[in-house]
């Protein structure tokens, strides 16, 4: 029998060959080791680092407060609002209504063209434009003079803009409005990645446009939308450092900078900022990894193999229908 031959034949001896040498690796290790030693030497011997001072002050209550409120709080708020508005703008961009399409295009054009720092400073200074924010009929005074009424005021109510548009709110507005523009592009790409046959099949069943979007298209677009959104979240966390320009006081970088300036220990506090942002973004990176794994289930190779195995098991167990790839 044919199979017997392989059994009878003795296995050849495993190959014992001299491996190829890689002298380049050893050279690079040596060079890097020297550079690393130099770096550590600077860290340890240069007194300007003030390590003990840095470690004691980087966990001060105002700094923890800044991390929670300014950095994490702002990231969460700006991303939630940004994603929501981004979906709206993306849907507007893809709508049949030409007005909505143009408005959506203008929106993304403006907020992607202006740098975030500039937006933040701009929103921080919006109080200059209006001392009071009021809700009412636009051009009421002008219309009044047109019809011979002087000082016509058709307004419902108002707020002092310096209360409203300073600090946290101004920063939040600038960050989430600009984030929405980027998210709109990401969501649009996601929606467009879904096979048009899906929408047609749903339409043929009598589902409404809104139902098709919510139930059929968006869930499938998620696989494309989630990974870049994770990147956006990490970028947003880092961009909260820009809030120092608004300024927002309860924020990590502002607080570290303030301590540095107050104690004339600027450099240790900058190092502390690096360590804080490293730690925070590392946590998000881990989260992103699991999120991506979750949303790509059923599509990736290992998942497919698992499904196949399950299908085979079912076939053997219950005599089900065959599985085709």
């Amino acid at each position: 029998m044919a199979t017997d031959i392989t059994d009878v034949r003795a296995r050849p001896e495993p190959i014992k060959a001299v491996p190829v040498r890689h002298p380049g690796r050893w050279v690079s290790v040596a060079v890097l080791a020297v550079l690393a030693a130099m770096f550590v030497h600077v860290l340890v011997t240069n007194p300007a680092f003030q390590w003990s001072f840095m470690f004691t002050s980087m966990f001060n209550p105002p700094i923890i407060d800044g991390v929670l409120r300014g950095t994490l709080g702002m990231t969460i708020c700006a991303m939630l609002l940004g994603v929501t508005l981004g979906v709206v703008v993306a849907v507007m961009r893809l709508s049949d209504n030409p007005i909505l399409r143009v408005v959506a295009w203008l929106y993304t054009w403006f907020f992607r063209a202006v740098p975030r720092v500039v937006l933040l400073v701009l929103f921080g200074n919006l109080g200059i434009l209006w001392s009071r924010l009021e809700l009412g009929v636009p051009f009421d005074t002008q219309l009044g003079t047109l019809f011979g009424l002087s000082n016509l005021h058709l307004r419902i109510g108002g707020l002092d803009s310096r209360d409203l548009l300073s600090g946290f709110l101004a920063g939040l507005l600038a960050l989430f409005l600009s984030e929405a523009a980027y998210m709109a592009e990401i969501v649009r790409a996601g929606i467009q990645s879904v096979d048009p046959g899906q929408g047609e099949a749903a339409a043929a069943l009598g589902l409404s446009k809104g139902q098709i979007l919510r139930r059929i298209v968006l869930p499938q677009a998620m696989r494309v939308i989630v990974p870049p959104t994770g990147n956006e979240t990490i970028a947003m966390l880092k961009d909260t450092a820009l809030l120092i320009n608004v300024p927002v006081i309860y924020e990590l970088f502002f607080q570290l900078d303030a301590i540095g300036k107050r104690t004339f220990q600027t450099f240790p506090m900058l190092v502390a900022a690096c360590l804080w942002y490293l730690a925070l973004t590392s946590v998000l990176l881990v989260g992103q990894y699991f999120l991506e794994r979750h949303f790509s289930r059923g599509y990736g190779q290992p998942a497919r193999a698992r499904l196949k195995l399950r299908g085979l098991a079912a076939e053997q167990g219950g005599g089900g229908q065959g599985v085709a790839g």
Partner: protein, 250 residues
Amino acid sequence: MVKAENVHKSFGRLEVLRGIDLEVRQGEVCCVIGPSGSGKSTFLRCINHLEKVNAGRIWVDGDLIGYRERGGKLYELREKDVAAQRRGIGMVFQRFNLFPHMTVLENVMEAPLRVRGESKAEVRERALRLLDRVGLSAKVDTYPGQCSGGQQQRVAIARALAMRPKLMLFDEPTSALDPELVGEVLDVMKDLAAEGMTMIVVTHEIGFAREVGDSLVFMDGGVVVESGGPRDVIANPRHERTRSFLKKVL
């Protein structure tokens, strides 16, 4: 049940349909054959208004599709009303178009639940019955990606039937299938025809047309070249174009 009058459709400058007249009676199975690019799929998609016709009229069960006629004037229907018309018309696509993020059972339950707002238990029971009817009881909790093409197409038929349509449109339902899977889908369609469903089937399966069809329409170049009883048309085609097409596919 279905009546089309002088239907025209163009995409840009390309005229795909150039005056289609067709009548399908209640319970009739009408098979549409023709070379690719002859406009048969486009015509099918006009019947449930996935494509807007440029001229002519289509009625399904007495309703003018896509428009409302009042005082000699045509008014475009709003999306809501178009969706309502589509509920009575089931459609099966060449590429199945099942929803990949839902299980087989959820695929079948989706439309009756969201569109008709029926009770979940009732919809579920009907969906299970339908899946049993197309021979897929064992597959209810799997995802479409885990099913073969033939199984997916049978799910798609069950999904369309779940809306209790009065008319079923089949757009080359077996063209994307491996040859050995074609039979299982055609069997389901045969059963459906035997139960008296009105069906319009765009197909390349001449055997199915001859065996199951009540009428056969041969389309070419955006017009109906020839129509009649399937055995008649296949056995003695009157037009040269029909003859040469049948010679190639038979």
